[in-house]
C-alpha cells in the first residue's frame, strides 16, 4: 500500500514518525516533513500489517493508493520488444524552433 502517515502534536510528531520508520523499517519517500500547522507527515510504502502497527502506535494512516495495482498498471506501459532495433532514434519532446525562438 502507498500511504501518507501523519503524527502530531507538534513537539513529538516528527520523532514518532522517525521512530516508526526506523523500528518498522518502512520504505519512505521524501523524509518526514512538518507542515505549517505543526503536523508531521511522511509518505510510505508498506503492507497492511505494518500500517496497522503504525496506527496502533498513535500515528494516522491515510492510504492513498494500492501500490501493487498501480505497479502492475505501469508495467503495462513499458515498451515490448525493441522499438529501436531498426537503427532509428528516439524523438524528444522538445519543439524545434528557429533562431532565438521568439
Amino acid at each position: 500500500m502507498r500511504a501518507t502517515l501523519y503524527a502530531s502534536p507538534v513537539a513529538s510528531g516528527a520523532d514518532l514518525l522517525n521512530t516508526l520508520i526506523q523500528e518498522l523499517r518502512l520504505d519512505t519517500v521524501g523524509g518526514v516533513r512538518v507542515d505549517e500547522s505543526g503536523v508531521a507527515r511522511v509518505e510510505a510504502y508498506a503492507n497492511g500489517h505494518r500500517l496497522a502497527v503504525v496506527r496502533s502506535r498513535g500515528a494516522t494512516v491515510e492510504i492513498t493508493a494500492d501500490a501493487t495495482e498501480t505497479g502492475l498498471t505501469r508495467q503495462d506501459q513499458v515498451g515490448r520488444g525493441n522499438r529501436f532495433a531498426d537503427g532509428s532514434v528516439p524523438i524528444g519532446t522538445g519543439i524545434l524552433v528557429e533562431g532565438d525562438g521568439r
Partner: protein, 480 residues
C-alpha cells in the same frame, strides 16, 4: 510512446551515437552488471579529448524511478537533433535559442549515463515495480528478499555511518548494513563494491575537468544541493567529513554541534545553479520545485552527490564538481501521459544548467608575441589556476603556472617588455591587482620548477612596481 525497456535504452544510446557521430559518441562503461548487461554513456560535445569542462548526468540509479532514464535520453535526442538542424528548442513556455544550444555544444562536454542500474530497472519493469536496488545476489543467504544493494548508498562518503553519525540521527532510517533489511537501502559490504557505482566513479573521473554532476531521481519535486550528511557552514574548515574528531556528531538537523563545511564560494555557485534549474523547470508549465540541501530531505551516507562534490578535498588533482540531485514528480511511475510532461520539465532544467555551465566555461585569454617565432597564451582557468600555452614552431598544450589561485575565469592581461621578460596581471575579488611571474635561467623545455610566483598589491593599487619578473627562454618559450 511508453516507458523504455532496458533493451530499448541500450539501442537508443547506440543509435543516437551512430546518427550524430560528429557531435556525439557512445562509451561502454568498464563494468557489466551482475546479470551481464553492458552499461553505456553518451558523450556530447565538440571533442573527445577530455579537456573541456564536463557536466556528468546520471539516471536510473534507483530501479523503480523509471522516468529518470527517459529524461536523459530525451535530453540527448533533443539536443543532438536541434543542434544538427541548427534549431532551438521549446518546452512549454521555455525556449532555448539556437545560440544557446550552440554555446552548450561548443563549450562543454555532457557525459550522460542514462541507465546506471539496468538489472534493477528490468526487475522493476517485469516483476516488482517498487524494486529500488541492483540485483546483486552475492549476499542473499538463500533469501530472495536479500538480493541487491542500494547503489546510492554504496559510494565512498561516510560509509561507516554507525561511527560517523550521531546515535540520535535518523540516518539509520535511510541506510542499512543489513542485506536483508526491508528498507531496500542496504549499503553493500564496502564502498564501490557494486559495478554500477564503480561505473559512475569512472564516468566522473573520465574527464579531468568534470565540473558539474546532476543525479536524476524521483521524487518529490525537489532540487537538492550539497550536503547530504548534515547542515552546512562556511566558517570552520576543520569541521568536515574527513575529521574523525567529529565522529558521532553528524546528522542532527538544526544543531550547532556539527555542520559540514562548504566554502562560501561553492555554496554560492550551488545555490545559483539550483535556482537556474528551478526557474527553467518552472518556465515550462509552472511547476514549482523546491531547492534545498540534500540533508533537508534526510541524512544520507554513501550517496553519489556527496561523493562527487568533495573529491578535490581529499585529492587536489580532482576538479571542483558542483553536485545536485533532481527529485522529479510525485510518483515513482506516473502514467506515461504525465511522465511526458515531467520529461519536458526536467529536460528544460538540465538544458538551463548546461547553458549556465557553458557560459561560465570559457577561459579569459591574454595573448602576446615576444618575437616573430614565439606566441604565448595565458588564462585563469575555471578552477582559478593560471595556465599557459605557447607556440614555437608548434603548439604546446596548456600547463599550469605555479601555485597561484585566483577567482575562476578571472580576466587577465599580458605584457611582453622584450623577448626575455613578460608579465601577466589580474584583479582579485578585493580589487587588488596581482602580478604573477617567476625568475630563473629558463633554458629548457620544462615548465616545472619553483620559480613561478605571484605578488599582490592592496586594493586600488596596480603599478609596475608590484610586478615580479619572469625570465624566459626566447628559443623555447619556456617559463621557469
Amino acid at each position: 510512446m511508453t516507458y523504455l525497456n532496458v533493451a530499448e535504452v541500450d539501442a537508443a544510446v547506440r543509435n543516437l551515437a551512430a546518427t550524430y557521430p560528429d557531435i556525439c559518441e557512445h562509451l561502454t562503461l568498464p563494468k557489466p552488471s551482475v546479470e551481464g548487461r553492458v552499461c553505456r554513456a553518451l558523450r556530447l560535445g565538440p571533442r573527445a579529448d577530455g579537456t573541456l569542462p564536463t557536466l556528468v548526468l546520471t539516471g536510473g540509479v534507483h530501479a523503480r524511478e523509471w522516468g529518470s532514464c527517459e529524461i536523459l535520453i530525451n535530453l540527448a535526442a533533443d539536443l543532438l537533433r536541434a543542434r544538427t538542424l541548427g534549431s532551438g528548442l521549446r518546452y512549454g513556455n521555455r525556449t532555448f535559442s539556437t545560440l544557446d544550444l550552440r554555446t552548450i555544444m561548443r563549450r562543454i562536454n555532457i557525459l550522460i549515463v542514462p541507465l546506471v542500474n539496468p538489472d534493477g530497472r528490468h526487475y522493476s519493469q517485469m516483476t516488482d515495480a517498487l524494486w529500488r536496488r541492483n540485483r546483486n545476489p552475492a549476499r542473499p543467504e538463500g533469501r530472495p528478499e536479500c538480493v541487491g544493494v542500494d547503489i546510492n548508498r554504496n559510494y565512498e562518503f561516510l560509509f561507516d555511518f554507525g561511527t560517523a553519525f550521531s546515535p540520535k540521527s535518523s540516518i539509520r532510517s535511510h541506510v542499512s548494513a543489513d542485506p536483508c533489511d526491508p528498507l531496500q537501502q542496504y549499503q553493500g559490504p564496502a564502498p564501490f563494491s557494486e559495478p554500477e557505482t564503480d561505473n559512475v566513479r569512472w564516468a566522473l573521473d573520465l574527464h579531468r575537468r568534470t565540473r558539474w554532476f546532476v543525479d536524476v531521481h524521483s521524487y518529490p519535486e525537489l532540487i537538492l544541493h550539497s550536503w547530504g550528511d548534515d547542515d552546512s557552514q562556511s566558517h570552520d574548515p576543520e569541521m568536515n567529513f574527513r575529521n574523525s574528531a567529529h565522529h558521532g556528531m553528524r546528522g542532527i538537523p538544526g544543531d550547532r554541534v556539527y555542520r559540514e563545511f562548504i566554502p562560501a564560494g561553492d555554496l554560492d555557485v550551488s545555490l545559483r545553479l539550483a535556482g537556474v534549474m528551478r526557474d527553467a523547470l518552472a518556465g515550462v508549465r509552472g511547476k514549482t520545485y523546491t531547492t534545498e540541501s540534500a540533508f533537508t530531505l534526510y541524512p544520507t551516507a554513501g550517496s553519489g552527490d556527496d561523493y562527487a562534490y568533495p573529491r578535490r578535498f581529499t585529492d587536489p588533482s580532482k576538479p571542483r564538481t558542483h553536485s545536485f540531485v533532481i527529485e522529479w514528480g510525485k510518483d515513482f511511475q506516473p502514467s506515461w501521459e504525465e511522465m511526458e510532461l515531467i520529461v519536458g520539465d526536467v529536460t528544460s532544467a538540465l538544458l538551463a544548467v548546461s547553458l549556465e555551465a557553458a557560459r561560465n566555461a570559457p577561459w579569459q585569454l591574454a595573448t602576446q608575441t615576444r618575437n616573430p617565432d614565439q606566441m604565448d597564451v595565458f588564462a585563469i582557468d575555471s578552477d582559478g589556476r593560471a595556465q599557459s600555452a605557447w607556440w614555437h614552431g608548434e603548439w604546446h598544450d596548456w600547463a599550469r603556472m605555479g601555485p597561484m589561485v585566483l577567482p575562476p575565469q578571472t580576466p587577465i592581461a599580458s605584457l611582453a617588455r622584450n623577448s626575455d621578460y613578460m608579465d601577466i596581471f589580474a584583479v582579485g575579488t578585493d580589487g587588488g591587482c596581482g602580478a604573477t611571474g617567476g625568475t630563473g635561467s629558463g633554458t629548457t623545455g620544462s615548465r616545472s620548477g619553483p620559480a613561478v610566483r605571484s605578488r599582490r598589491s592592496p586594493p586600488s593599487r596596480c603599478s609596475p612596481a608590484t610586478t615580479t619578473r619572469w625570465t624566459c627562454s626566447p628559443r623555447t618559450g619556456t617559463v621557469r
